[in-house]
Amino acid sequence: MTAPIKRTEGYAFAYLDEQTKRMIRRAILKAVAIPGHQVPFAARDMPMPYGWGTGGIQVTAAILGPADVLKVIDQGADDTTNAVSIRAFFQKTAGVAVTTRTGEASVIQTRHRIPEEPLKAGQTLIYQVPIPEPLRFLEPRETETRVMHALADYGLMHVKLYEDIATHGHIAKTYAYPVKVEGRYLMDPSPIPKFDNPKMHMSPALQLFGAGREKRIYALPPFTRVESLDFEDHPFERTKFEAPCALCGATDAYLDEVVIDDRGGRMFVCSDTDHCETRRAEGRRGALLGDAPKENRP
């Protein structure tokens, strides 16, 4: 963990002005009260382009306090451009302590992953959301999709999943896999892999979703039922991996495929860098680590 630092003078705490924070805070409270419902909010221009997580950043800025410890991940990694930039942004404007350790963080902003280490009560996970409307590509008119949510009319999504089965033999959606919240609202979990969907169900942590360009906030309070859509004869299945992580040997984590040469060679490694590093620090060894035990090597 990196301790709190003195924030740069001349910025409002966590960048946003107080009136903007109040507006976002009011939207967050209503989102929590209506789990899975997209609450409109007046998203501001942020000092970075849409698509870089402006929704998540505004939600983080609205809740962050001086006692928080912030972790930011991009596809599971703490050390990629998006994560590094957002972490530095809040160090500069809020002076908060930051960490890469999932267990140490009170607020985790994420682009498209849920950490492997189970989240605890008191933690808040904030998702960066590109497209909050799960029905968008089935019905492009927002006026219509809002009425469909009002009527809980989600037949179109079931037809889409059924057509997947008819065409491919299975539900082909592997990320942004739609979920039903508390048996009522259809929700886009943001483009997390469907591998992560079960982690949302009855999580002890608070989950907040911010879509900046689309100006929507939605939420899952702790201990909320979150079910991935499926059919009785085609139940939801988590993505499975054939090989363990090449660095830490994990068999229960979401893996990224990495091309390692120009002859088709590839390796699979944990997408969650903190999970992988923690396991290696505990002495676990995957096949491609130099000091891997013989039986682990290919």
């Binding site: 409002a12 705490f13 107080e18 009136q19 924070k21 109040r22 507006m23 805070r25 009011r26 939207a27 967050i28 409270l29 209503k30 989102a31 929590v32 009260a33 209506i34 789990p35 419902h37 609450v39 409109p40 609205a62 809740i63 962050l64 306090g65 001086p66 809002r146 009425v147 949510h149 009002a150 009527l151 508390e182 009522r184 609202y185 009855m202 002890p204 608070l206 939420a219 899952l220 309070p221 702790p222 201990f223 909320t224 039922r225």
Partner: protein, 200 residues
């Protein structure tokens, strides 16, 4: 009579950080109904506006949100304090209020307030209900999102028909009001999703 500057008592000593702390308490309270979350009230708020309720409304209300207040709070000092510290317009019609400051006595029917629409249920009112505290009162069993199974809470000084009011409110889901109970040193949230029954 127009209030003069000298009649207005101070609000937050440190608006940025005290409103952030109050917001997090309210957020946690609504995210985990039935849990008591400590709030540092604004002791200088003019009575009978309770310090914790004053902190909650100073945190959440501004020129965009009309605030309805019950009879006991319609005093010039309180009007002036709320106008100065929040800039929130006075709602004379409860149906037009984003927030309402209410007590157990003469609390209007919850359906008098904005309930939101089926298309946008988030436009409903948030009621800040002052209660005596969270011990030595009526006991309730709560369940729903934010609660691991069920929990029991004690609320002193709430309307005697609270469970019936909230059951009727729950039946409107996804429409309905959300409650922030403000005690003497803490808040408790009862969002529209919470199922409540009184333990007799």
């Amino acid at each position: 009579m127009a209030p003069t500057a000298t009649t207005i008592a101070p609000g937050f000593r440190d608006p940025v950080f005290q409103s952030q702390a109050t917001f997090r308490a309210v957020l946690d309270a609504l995210a985990e109904p039935g849990t008591e979350r400590p709030v540092e009230g604004i002791a200088t708020a003019p009575a009978p506006l309770a310090p914790v309720a004053a902190a909650v409304i100073a945190t959440l209300a501004d020129f965009e949100t009309a605030v309805w207040r019950d009879e006991t709070l319609r005093l010039p000092e309180i009007e002036a304090w709320l106008a100065f510290h929040t800039g929130a317009p006075v709602a004379l019609d409860p149906a037009r209020a984003a927030f309402a400051l209410i007590g157990a006595d003469d609390a209007p029917d919850f359906t008098d307030f904005a309930l939101g629409s089926d298309v946008d249920p988030s436009t409903s009112a948030t009621l800040v209900l002052r209660v005596a505290g969270f011990d030595n009162g009526r006991r309730y069993r709560l369940s729903g999102p934010g609660i691991d199974g069920a929990c029991e809470v004690t609320i002193a000084g709430a309307p005697t028909d609270l469970a019936d009011r909230l059951a009727a409110n729950r039946a409107l889901f996804p429409r309905g009001v959300d409650l922030i109970l403000s005690g003497s040193t803490s808040v408790m949230g009862l969002p529209r999703t919470t199922r409540i029954e009184e333990i007799r």
